[in-house]
C-alpha cells in the first residue's frame, strides 16, 4: 500500500525554521513506522536523520510524535495509522536535526535522582534477598526504557524545563519501593523539592504516552505518598 509520510524536517546548518517534508512510500500494512522511515532514508532522501537502535521497543531510542501522539516508531504498525502519517520530533527538547532531539537535560535529571542502589549496611554473605511481594511493588517501574515519551508528553515539563519529569520519577520509584535500597532520604529530598513531584498536575498524558504501559501517574502518586508519610 502507498502511504504518505509528512515529516517535520530541520537542519540547523541550512534551515531558519522547520518545514514539512512529504514522502510517498510503498509499504506493507504490517510494516512499522520505523520501516517507512528507513525506506525514505535509504531510497529517497539520505539526509533524513533519526535515532534508532534495536528496532524492537527495548532500547527506547526512537520515541517521536507520530500522528500527534508520542510513540516508538518501531512499535507502531502502519495499518493502524492509515495512508497518511505525520512524524515530528518529541516536544519540549531542543531539536538537533530532523527527528533527533537533545536529551542531555533529560539524562541529567535521571542522574539527579541517583538511579542506583544505595546501601549503608555491609553486604551480606550472598545476595540481598527480597520476597516476591517486595519485588512486585516496583515491577512496573523496572519496565522503563528511558525513551522520554512520558516526559515530553507532560505539559508541566513543557512549561518548566527544570521539572524533574515523569521518567526520572519512575526511575526514582523503582529504587524508593525497593526493600533493599537505603537511599530513600536523599531521593525523597530531591523529589520533595519545588521542581520535584509537586510539579505534577496529574494530567495523565504520561500514561497515554508510555510505550511500556507503565502506570506513570500511579508511580508519581506513590512517591507523593512516600513524602507525605515519610515512608515507602
Amino acid at each position: 500500500m502507498e502511504t504518505r509520510f509528512k515529516i517535520k524536517r530541520f537542519n540547523p546548518e541550512k534551515d531558519e525554521k522547520s518545514y514539512w517534508g512529504e514522502y510517498d512510500v510503498e509499504v506493507e500494512p504490517t510494516d512499522r513506522v520505523l520501516d517507512g522511515l528507513h525506506l525514505i532514508k535509504w531510497y529517497q532522501d539520505g539526509t533524513l536523520t533519526l535515532r534508532r537502535s534495536c528496532g524492537h521497543g527495548i532500547c527506547g531510542s526512537d520515541a517521536m510524535v507520530i500522528n500527534g501522539v508520542n510513540r516508538l516508531a518501531c512499535k507502531v504498525l502502519i495499518k493502524d495509522l492509515g495512508k497518511s502519517i505525520t512524524v515530528e520530533p518529541m516536544r519540549g527538547f531542543r531539536v538537533i536535526k530532523d527527528l533527533v532531539v537533545d536529551m542531555k537535560g533529560f539524562f541529567e535529571k535521571y542522574r539527579s535522582i541517583k538511579p542506583y542502589l544505595i546501601t549503608d549496611t555491609p553486604p551480606p554473605e550472598k545476595e540481598r534477598l527480597q520476597s516476591p511481594e517486595e519485588r512486585e511493588r516496583f515491577d512496573g517501574s523496572t519496565k522503563c526504557i528511558l525513551c522520554g515519551a512520558c516526559t515530553t508528553a507532560c505539559p508541566s515539563f513543557w512549561a518548566d524545563k527544570e521539572y524533574v519529569g515523569p521518567a526520572a520519577i519512575v526511575q526514582a520509584h523503582r529504587f524508593l519501593m525497593d526493600s533493599r535500597d537505603e537511599g530513600k532520604k536523599v531521593r525523597l529530598e530531591i523529589l520533595g523539592d519545588r521542581e520535584g513531584v509537586w510539579r505534577c498536575r496529574t494530567i495523565f498524558n504520561c500514561i497515554e504516552a508510555c510505550p511500556r504501559d507503565i502506570d506513570v501517574a500511579g508511580a508519581i502518586a506513590d512517591v507523593k505518598r512516600a513524602i507525605l508519610f515519610n515512608k515507602s
Binding site: 541529567e108 535529571k109 542522574r111 539527579s112 541517583k114 542506583y116 553486604p123 508541566s156 512549561a159 518548566d160 527544570e162 529530598e189 530531591i190 520533595g192 523539592d193 519545588r194 521542581e195 520535584g196 509537586w198 510539579r199 498536575r201 507523593k224 513524602i227 507525605l228
Partner: protein, 130 residues
C-alpha cells in the same frame, strides 16, 4: 569490598529540604473537598431557595445575628481565597519564568490576596445589624 561510588552532581540546585510544596499540595486537596460542600451550600441557600430579589439588608442582618453563618462565610471566604491564590501561584510558577515578571506577578497576587482577605473578613466580622 566497599565500592566507593562517586556521586555525580547533575548541576541541579541543592534541594532546600522544605516541606512547603507538600503542605501547599495537601491544602489544595482538603480545601477543595471542603469547598465543594461549602460553596454548594452557599449556592443552594442564596440562589436556589432564596434569590437576589428576596435577599436584602434584613435578610443578611437576620443571618448574621447568629455566629454560625458568620463562621460559615468566613471559612468559605478564607478557603476560597487561599485555594484560588495557591492555584494562581502554581500557574505563575509554571509559566512565568523571567525573574522580574515573576516577582511582579507574585507581589501583585499576594497584595490583592491580602487586601481581599482583610476587606472580606472585616465585613463578615464587624457587621453590626442596626
Amino acid at each position: 569490598m566497599k565500592i566507593n561510588m562517586e556521586v555525580r552532581n547533575s548541576g541541579r540546585e541543592k534541594p532546600r529540604d522544605s516541606r512547603f510544596e507538600l503542605y501547599a499540595w495537601l491544602f489544595m486537596r482538603f480545601s477543595g473537598v471542603l469547598l465543594i460542600g461549602l460553596a454548594l451550600g452557599h449556592l443552594v441557600i442564596m440562589h436556589l431557595i432564596n434569590n437576589v430579589d428576596i435577599i436584602d439588608y434584613d435578610f443578611v442582618a437576620a443571618r448574621y445575628a447568629t455566629p454560625f453563618w458568620r463562621i460559615y462565610d468566613l471559612i468559605l471566604l478564607l478557603l476560597a481565597l487561599l485555594h484560588g491564590l495557591n492555584g494562581m501561584r502554581t500557574i505563575v510558577d509554571d509559566y512565568v519564568h523571567p525573574r522580574l515578571w515573576r516577582r511582579v506577578s507574585l507581589s501583585l497576587l499576594y497584595s490583592f490576596g491580602f487586601i481581599f482577605t482583610v476587606v472580606g473578613s472585616y465585613t463578615i466580622l464587624a457587621f453590626q445589624p442596626k
